[in-house]
């Protein structure tokens, strides 16, 4: 009998998160950029062999740490950072609402789960819970499409290691609901979750774990809007847009208070001071937009107090790192959990674990 794991799958515009619980609820977690591209491991390692060490016969050994190549259904896919750096046609399916039921979502689920399951386990069963944005959750065709895209027996290879993952989707819930499971309060507390991603911000409100639908809303604004603004200013000054990989490193450096990477354009080095200023302004602008959106949906008093009658307000998603201060100004009682980018996936995995236990209890009754 193959081992069974509870798995939370959070496929975002910018990042995909996976959380795995084994039967004792020991947790493993991981994120990858939501970018994939067709590629060839053999071609990549042939080029690297030409530059140094010989990897013939052992192509997977030509991969550097943090690089992942998935072979599935007769095709090879570069994933995450490798796709950003080594493939011309890398895609994340940004702004495509069908991405939740796309092959890319499955590819990232298989890759992340394979990284989390112990290497000695070649075949495993995943009981999955995943989420949909509030705007699309109500569509039964979308929920059905997610299930059809992910479920099945999947033979694949990750970095040369063959695996079999049997995937079952136990439930699809609203984005934000996962975070309330993971980090919410107990009992029938009125609580809310602001989930800021790459392209969207979702507001989820609940009494205990039950959604309060009029207060659940989504908006197409996220951190990548700040990246787009930064790239536009860079292009206006230097004649070319910033690449996706450059934007990613600049924003990470900004929030981690590290020196910016060296960015060159037409043989000249971009002014770091200016880049820093533009980044500040872009994040400030988007942070203000998001704060206004939250205020418009959750205003509870004429004084402008936002979420004032909420016992708990969580800020989650990868965007939490970038705009927390803007939201704190409006919502002083905001709570930001550790690893906000994984908050939904943790809750999904916990729900998957609970549903698995209930299934077993019914089966043995």
């Amino acid at each position: 009998m193959i081992p069974v794991y509870a798995y939370g799958h959070d496929h975002g515009n910018a990042e995909t998160g996976g959380v795995l619980f084994d039967q004792t609820m020991v947790e493993r977690a991981r994120t990858l950029p939501s970018v994939t591209a067709l590629g060839s491991l053999q071609d990549l390692t042939d080029v690297r062999s030409a530059l140094g060490e010989n990897f013939s016969g052992r192509p997977a050994e030509g991969l550097h740490q943090g690089e992942y190549v998935l072979e599935y259904n007769g095709s090879e896919w570069f994933l995450g950072e490798l796709a950003l750096k080594q493939a011309r046609n890398a895609s994340a399916g940004r702004d495509d609402i069908d991405r939740y039921k796309s092959p890319r979502s499955l590819h990232l689920l298989l890759a992340i789960s394979a990284l989390l399951v112990p290497p000695s386990v070649k075949e495993y069963l995943l009981n999955v819970v995943t989420g949909l944005p509030i705007a699309t959750f109500g569509n039964p065709d979308m929920r059905r499409g997610v299930r059809l895209a992910l479920e099945g027996e999947h033979h694949f290879t990750l970095n040369g290691m063959q695996r079999l993952a049997v995937v079952r989707v136990l439930k699809t819930i609203m984005e934000g609901a996962g975070a309330i499971i993971a980090h919410g309060g107990e009992g029938d507390l009125i609580q809310g979750c602001i989930d800021i991603g790459g392209r969207t911000t979702d507001l989820f409100a609940a009494e205990g774990q039950s959604p309060i639908l009029p207060l659940c809303r989504g908006k197409n604004v996220g951190i990548e809007a700040a990246a787009d603004m930064l790239s536009a200013r860079f292009q206006a000054r230097y004649g070319r847009p910033l690449k996706a990989g450059e934007l990613r490193v600049i924003l990470r450096s900004h929030v981690q208070q590290r020196p910016y990477p060296v960015v060159s354009a037409n043989g000249a080095q971009a002014n770091e001071f200016e880049l820093r200023q533009w980044t500040n302004q872009a994040l400030s602008s988007i942070g203000g937009d998001i704060a206004s959106f939250v205020g418009s949906v959750w205003n509870t008093s004429e004084s402008g107090a936002v979420g004032g009658d909420f016992g708990r307000v969580l800020l989650v998603g990868g965007g939490a790192y970038y705009v927390a201060e803007h939201l704190r100004a409006r919502i002083p009682h905001l709570l930001i959990p550790q690893r906000p980018e994984l908050a939904n996936a943790v809750g999904y995995a916990a729900l998957a674990h609970e549903l698995t236990l209930r299934e077993r209890a019914r089966a043995s009754a």
Partner: protein, 102 residues
């Protein structure tokens, strides 16, 4: 005032003439009556002090998940500030959302 290189580090800084930052720095200097070189030192010290305070208020930084994930000794909040813990909330969520897919 003579430079005391045994005590201080001195740097030359270039700011674009048409930058908002330079304009704000000059306005700051005029308003406070502090010379620009002194003000640069003061504002940099302020900035570092502020970011230390912000760091202590923020969660772990992005990209901090190691290669093989983060194995946890136990589930979230089993006996933490949230009271009943992750399993209890998951059980309540199972009641709300149900199972069996759709």
């Amino acid at each position: 005032m003579a430079r005391d290189r045994a005590k201080n580090a001195y740097y030359t800084v270039g700011l674009p003439l048409d930058s908002d930052t330079l304009h704000r720095l000059l306005a700051d200097s005029e308003e406070t009556g502090v010379s620009v070189p002194q003000l640069l030192a003061v504002r940099i010290a302020d900035w570092y002090r502020f970011t230390v305070e912000m760091k202590s208020a923020l969660p772990a930084l992005p990209g901090a998940v190691p290669e093989r994930g983060v194995p946890a000794a136990s589930a979230h909040d089993k006996s933490g500030a949230n009271g009943n813990g992750l399993q209890t909330r998951a059980s309540a969520a199972a009641q709300t959302w149900g199972g069996d897919g759709e």
